[in-house]
């Protein structure tokens, strides 16, 4: 770290804007052992930005919907953004992006979590399941089927989160009664107000003996 700082402030580097910015912004660089000479040379060839991108990302391996993925992510990227932007899995929705609405709910190692408040870099080795991963080919998951049957949505924006949350709610044993279901589904907000039908759908799947 000190070495790089020093290089940053050395007078002869003053004209190399790209390199200075690179060194200033790439805090992750400090965690990686790199020969300063290599960077200096790269900067001269204006490779700063490319290198910056490379060094500011971290490799992370996770299994998404049963497929192993190795991804280069920025430490600040959320799981939600990586799913949507890097893996094109846009079924998981960005609602509030602050952990208040539940639209981004996915399963990590079988537990429902908020992908907007999860850093992707922290999912190393984890099993991630999104709304795209619950159907068996053309055969919808029973919860998807039940949402259609009971009209568990209007605009549909919260639906992927509701479905992922509903499946987990049953698996946790928190859908024994209607009251329990409402309480343990309270992290999924539906502005259309489809709650009664969502509860019906979850109750039907629960009573039908959900497998997974």
């Amino acid at each position: 770290m000190d070495k790089n700082r020093k290089a940053d402030h050395s007078p002869k580097e003053d004209n190399h804007e790209s390199r200075r910015d690179f060194l200033k912004t790439s805090s992750i660089l400090t965690a990686i052992a790199v020969a300063p000479l290599t960077i200096a040379k790269a900067a001269e060839y204006n490779l700063g930005e490319k290198i910056s991108a490379a060094f500011e990302t971290t490799l992370v391996s996770m299994t998404v919907n049963g497929v192993k993925k190795q991804l280069a992510v920025e430490p600040r990227s959320t799981l939600l953004d990586v799913l949507r932007e890097q893996l094109d899995l846009t079924g998981t929705k960005k609602g509030c992006d602050y952990g208040q609405c539940g639209a981004c709910t996915v399963h990590v190692n079988g537990q429902r979590v908020l992908s907007c408040l999860s850093l992707a870099v922290m999912q190393e080795g984890k099993q991630v399941t999104t709304i795209e991963g619950i159907a068996k080919g053309d055969e919808l998951h029973p919860m998807q089927q039940a949402f259609i049957k009971h009209d568990g949505f209007q605009c549909g924006y919260c639906t992927p989160g509701q479905i992922m949350s509903g499946i987990a709610c049953i698996n946790e044993g928190h859908a024994e009664t209607k009251e329990d279901t409402r309480e343990f589904m309270s992290g999924n907000i539906c502005r259309c107000g489809a709650y009664p039908n969502i509860v019906k759908a979850i109750q039907e799947v629960k009573n039908g003996g959900q497998k997974s």
Partner: protein, 327 residues
Amino acid sequence: MIQFQFERASAVKTAVNALANNANAKFIAGGTNLVDLMKRNVMSPTKLVDINAIPLKNIQQQNGKIIIGALALNSQVADDELIIEKHPLLAMALNAGASAQIRNMATVGGNMMQRTRCPYFYDTALPCNKRQPGSGCGALEGANRMHAIFGASKDCIAVHPSDMCVALVALDAVVVVAGPKGERRIPFEEFHRLPGNQPERDNTLQANELIISVEIPDNSFNKNTHYFKVRDRASYAFALVSVAAALNMDGKVIKEARLAMGGVAHKPWRLKDAEKSLVGKPATEETFRQAAEIAMHGAKAYKHNAFKLKLGPNVIVEALKNAAGLV
């Protein structure tokens, strides 16, 4: 969110060392509050140390106490058979907080370390002494409906938002922390602090220290406890006022009592005088009403939260009635 350096620590010592000499480094566990605050630039650590690989997830019974690892998830604790049997008050309080998804992410240590939800703290365009010391308290003369009625100062009238902590302070819990000089134990009541003229300090944890566990001494409160939370909607909202009540009954007579309030102070607010007033008395509504009156001594309201002066004692009475089985 600004870019930051990311590291993983798999042992307590490594984690503590990773924070050395960097006042802008933070531990991250569940991240449910920290990531939120980082997105809003309320907090901007330059380094995050992921502590999830440290083996601090266990809940175990040992020598007259239950030890809960700091990384135990809120949902894990709430669903734990030992906790439900011995400290149902804690399970109730946990299930009253946040949502199922957040409880699956948030840890016990993280729950304790969460920041206030005061809107002036969250909005970087507004003054807040907690976020930016010396900038003033926006809530003092502003929108202060959610704010403190106990122990506030002219510099900060924010409240601590946790439900879990209200139960833990009532149950005489002890916080075990590790730092560069080893471990130390902090009574739960002394973990969080009042704002005074340093509202930027939420608690008494020192720089470099990591919460490693919370201990609850065995007690006889498991049959008569209740956590009563009043909020703006039926679920998934912070408390306006909440009360943790625990009674040890001999027939209809109260042998021991524990009482604490949430949503009313900068820390989970233990009500020791009210507890004392309950001892030896019959468990009746009248007894509870008297205790509630004692509990409210010294309460001070601001422009929009005077309703808490009436709501507070009513919630205390309801919590005690539920705990005593009078409802």
